[in-house]
Structure formats: structure tokens, C-alpha cells
Assembly symmetry: C2
Homo-oligomer: 418 residues x 2
Amino acid sequence: MAVEVTNVKEQAQKAQKASKTLALLTTKEKNEVLHVLADELEKEYETILTENEKDLANGREKGYTEAFMDRLSLSKERVEDFAKGLREVAALEDPVGEILSSWTLDNGLKVEQVRVPLGVIGMIYEARPNVTVDATGLALKSGNAIVLKGGSSAIHSNKAIVDVMHQALKKTKIPAEAVQFIASTDRSATQELFTMKEHIDVLIPRGGGSLIQTVVNNATVPVLETGVGNCHIYFDSKADVEKALNIFINAKTDRPAVCNAAETLIVHKEWLNANKDALIAKLNEYNIKVHGDQTIVDTIPGASLAVEKDWAEEYLGLEVAIKVVDNVQEAIDHIEQYGTKHSEAIVTEDNETAKQFLNQVDAAAVYHNASTRFTDGGALGFGAEIGISTQKLHARGPMGLPALTTIKYCMSGNGQVR
Amino acid sequence: MAVEVTNVKEQAQKAQKASKTLALLTTKEKNEVLHVLADELEKEYETILTENEKDLANGREKGYTEAFMDRLSLSKERVEDFAKGLREVAALEDPVGEILSSWTLDNGLKVEQVRVPLGVIGMIYEARPNVTVDATGLALKSGNAIVLKGGSSAIHSNKAIVDVMHQALKKTKIPAEAVQFIASTDRSATQELFTMKEHIDVLIPRGGGSLIQTVVNNATVPVLETGVGNCHIYFDSKADVEKALNIFINAKTDRPAVCNAAETLIVHKEWLNANKDALIAKLNEYNIKVHGDQTIVDTIPGASLAVEKDWAEEYLGLEVAIKVVDNVQEAIDHIEQYGTKHSEAIVTEDNETAKQFLNQVDAAAVYHNASTRFTDGGALGFGAEIGISTQKLHARGPMGLPALTTIKYCMSGNGQVR
């Protein structure tokens, strides 16, 4: 069974070889493959659920949290969602082959800047088995082979999903070797991926901060850094009370465990003086635990004094750090110091102050009078995303299909020399 | 004197602080600064030449090659060329602030994808003092601060150039701190830059292969890998003789020491059989030393048998490796194995074969019937380049001003939540 191979280098080489075939397929051919994968996953859902049960049993034994078990757990409906996701990716525009620009030099040499696949994507991720399907779909649609290294807690689910996809690929023009699954749970297997520059074009880590930092600090393969979000909402002195509280509550509580959720609230002292009762009422209504500076501790009943680490914390739950400032510059400076360059929002009715915030804050996404929750490929209309980049090179913010491509200059001449 | 500071972290922090001011300047303001720098360099050329003389004396003592000494050597004319380069950069379009796309979500949230500076660029380079000026000009124009770490052989020249630029910056809106020069020739100073993710946004190494690999293998700061070029010219069976020889001779001899020069010639056996005398005559006319496979050794008088290392070698001089193949696929496979993904060319009158080559060869630039020498920012009309990327992420091929920017999503709403 292909997934049992544990020679990581050999797997990466096979992926690379398959990527050459894949890069030359038409959009129609790739879309057909995605539909075959979707159909096969739906058909074989019982096999997948049986294997998933092994991971769940293992998780119960290890005493994983309820939230973790929920992310790990599959059902017929969740497998159907995988298939739906693949069909949605099939419906997206194919970036490959797009001519981004073209011109002719004075000597007649024709230059075309064309989008081409990256080649081989190395995906290193934690528990969620849906990443196995989503990442594969996006990789294949953009003409890339993929090497999957999922977390050990989902190993049986992921193996079962990949087995089904391999069976499906055998009916298609894409070689099954284009999807490689590292079945070893040994850390050394992951580390081998870090330096396999000859065969892997990019590594995309998805998961918690420590996974991502391990990849960034050890990889010589280029990395697309994703996801850690210590996002701030700033209530300016001229913030509308209702907008401010709605935006904060949405960003904090809609899905507290995701990276575009708010973790710190920064409040102008004048706004706080005028609206402290409304803020306290909302915090109580949503059971949000508060860590704050001294002013907040003196103002909000039950707030504990924030320590240095609170300002950098991704709580990923119903907790928030709150800081009081004298002006917008102080808010910008605080974000500069503690932010993770993900998503940052200002609430104000003063357009000049908003402009200053949007211009000066260095983040993938900056918001005026809206929730940070919109930093998401789906919400922005990208159709699907492979992750949210918090780095500045190559791609920033939600990464859709074009982030999985590079460019190539194609030159046609009739003997031009310099 | 600012350039004497050797606390690398402090310098990077100063650059980062200055980058915040720089990012907000208008195009007009930045252009004015570039003109002030150009004027001051011209005015102070004697100081620069005096300091350059120290590097030259040191170089003579160390017995550097003539080519090396030529690259190191400055003159009034060369300093004037620095100034001319800065004025040309001033004339280029400013990428910063460009709105790459904008749309409005169904809920009314307005999304703008805007180009913004990267922040702080770390430039690590070898002998040529012109990089000190060129890189600074491109960085400032694109709104970035720069930390310069030049080679020790040009230390006096580089220091003098930066001193003059610092004097000039004091008359402008750009803080002198935006240009930092690491005066220490200690390797540990360079290594500090490798991991300074908090303060440096990208490292750009320019120089020989070993410098570049050291940066790539040790940096946790994202790297834009530049320049090593093992470029191939393939003469197909249907290659026009005159075009083929002209293109090869141009790519090999016009400037043999640059990265877009040809290093390997691949020849279809039929072409060789029909045109060996013409090829031999050209190789002799230009005194090109040949390393070849057995067929070449049997065909070309004086050719030595190529060893494995010859196929991967950047000769950077009047030497070439020549391989004979049976078909285009064999040529593509050879390039896949030994190429550096820089620039690769096919010469043929058969458009289908050309298409196959352009589609399948994985390189920044692929050519049909033209010299690889056009892979150059100036030649392609980019105005100036900070280097030629041989990696696939962020930027590929010649990198002009846009390669020194990233994007930012700016969202404006009236209270939108998810």
C-alpha cells in the first residue's frame, strides 16, 4: 500500500516526478479528477469513519480536550463536506497558464510572464483531517503535487482518506504518486522534509504557534508562514458605541479558537469613561474573562491585572486582554510591539484617525469599522484557502489558488542576442 | 560616525524605526532624496576614491585576480554612474500605494489590496561597491529601510559611500538611520542578521554560490535567493545554424562572468553531424575550452572528457560543457538534473518542439531562439534590478521595485460582523 512507504526522500522524489505530468494537464482534466475524488470519498465514507474511530479511541485514552476531539471527529456529513469542498475547488478559476503580462522588446523579442505551478507542496499540519482533503484539492487544481505530513493523533483517519484518494486517482490522468502521505509518526520524518530543497518547493505549516515556529526555524525549504493571530480591536475616542461593541463581540466570540478572532481590546480613555457600563454589560453577557491594565482593573469588576505575557497571548477562548490608551498612536505602537501582523481593526467615526491607523499598522489585513473575522479566503471571495499568511513575502493574508503558483518568463525570438 | 556602530541588533532596530517614517513619504519626496544622494556622491567622489585606494592596496597585497580588482576599482566615472543609477531609479514608477485590486462584499465591506513596502531589507553582498548605492536607491524608492553588509575587501569604499549618503540624508525627509551599514568584518555580525526576524523582513544575498547557500541554509529571516546560473543552450535537430551559433556565442562570450551566461551546450546528434565544422570553427575563433561527453571528445579536437562536476559547473569564463542528445526530452531531463532554474534556451525552427521545451523546462526564464543574456532587469525594461531570483516564491527572475513590496488588505466598513 503506497501510504505505508516511509522513505521520505523517495516519496518526495515520486511527488516531484508526478508534478511534471500534473503541470501539463488542462483545467478540464484537473477538474474531472477533483470530481472523481469527491465521488470516491462519499462512496467510501464508512471505511474512513471506521479508521477515524481508531483515532477517537486513542484520543479518549489520552484524555484530549473536548474541542480537540470535536476537530478530530468525522461523520458521514463531514465526509460529504470534504467532497463538497473538492467540487467547489473544481469550480474555481484555474490560475495556471494565465498570462500576467506580455510585451515585445525593441529588438522583437516577445516576453510573456506566465503563471505556472510551484511544483511540490509540503503540507505539515496538526489534528484536523479535513486539511488532508482541502490541501490536496487546492494543490492538484493549481497543478502541484503534494506531500502530506499530518499530526499523529489523526494518523488513521488521514491514511484512510489518502488511501481512498489514491484509489480514485488510479482512474484519472493524475498519477497517484502526486499525493504522498508520510505515514511515519516519527519526528525525524518531518525534519527530513525541512531540508529537502531538491524535491520540495515550499513548506506550508498549519497548526499551533509552536509547530509553525519549528518549521520556520529549521527549514531551508522556503516556508509560507501561516496563521498565528494576536488580533487587536481599537475603540477610538470617536468610536460609535453600538458598532464598537458589536464588532468586538463578533471578533471575540463568533469563533474564539480561530486565528482571526480578537485577543486584545485597546480602548481610548475617553471612550471608556463615557461607555464603561455598556462595555461591562457586554463582557458579562458573553462571560468574557478580562485581563487588563491598572485602569481596567479599577474599572471592570472581576478583571485581573494583565502580565506581560497577556499582551502577546492568543487566548483562543472567551478571554481578552484590555489596554487603555491616550491616543491612536499609542494603540498603533502597542500593536507594533505585540501584534502578529495578521488582522487589526479600528472603530471610529473619524476618517482621518482611521486613515492613520490603516496606513501605519503593519499587518496582512487592517480594518476600519468591521470585524477582523473577515480575514478568510471564503469571506473575501477567494473560494478556498490553503492558509492565512502572516509573512510578507510571496503571499500575505488569505492564500487562495494563485498563492500556490509562481511565474515563468517565456521568451520567443528569431535569433536575438545582446 | 554612524557607520562605526557595530551593535547589529541596535542598527536593525534603528532601520526598522526609520522604515515607519519612510513608508509614509510620497513618491515626490522619495525622488527628491534620490537626487540629493546622487548630487552628494558626485560632489564627494574624491573622498570615495581615496578610501577605495585603501581597498585596492589591500587587494594588491592579497594578490586578488585582475577581474576581482576591476570590480573593486572605482573612478570618477564609476561614481558618476552611481549617481546616474540613482536618478534613473527616481524616474521609475513608484510601486507603493498601488491598488492591485478592490472589490465590495455583499455586506458592503470595501476591500482594497494595496502595495506597501516590505519594511527592512538586509542586503548581504560581496566585492562590488556599486551594490551599496544601487540597493540603497531601490530600497528607499520602494519605501524600505536597508541594512547593508558588504564584503570585507570593499569595506573602506563601502563605508565612504555610506558616509556620503548619510551626510546627504541629513538634508532630506528620510532619516539617515534608514540606511545602516554593518562596519564589522566579523562573520558573527552577518550571522546575527540571519535570525533577526523581529527587525528584518527579508535578506537578499548577492554574490557567489557559497555566500548564497550560507544565507539560505542558516537564515530564519525569509530569503530572496538570487543569481547562480548554470544556463543551457539546446540546439535542436531543426536549429538554424547561423541563429544557433550566434545565440550560443553571445550567451557564452558577451559577459562570461555573469549569471545569465551559458555554461552548457546541448546538441542534437543530427545537428552535430551536419554542422560540426561550423561549431568547431566558432569554438576556435572565440578560444572556448570544451569539456564534452565521449561523442564530443571524438568530434571536437582538443575537447577533454567531461566529468560529473562539469555538468553542474558555472565556469564564468571561456569554457563550456557540451553534451550530445538523441531528442528534446533528453535535453529537458539533463536541464532538470543539472540546471539552477535560471535561464534556459532552445534553438529550433520547429514550433512544436519549442513549445514542449518552454512548457516543460522549470526555470525563471525559458527562451526560444534568443540568447539567455536577456534575463536582466535592464534588458527586460524593469529599469533596475536588486537581483535575479532563482527561487519560486515571491519573485522569480529579474527583481525590480515591485519585488521589494508586499501587499496589505485595507478594509473599510460601517460595522460589518460575521
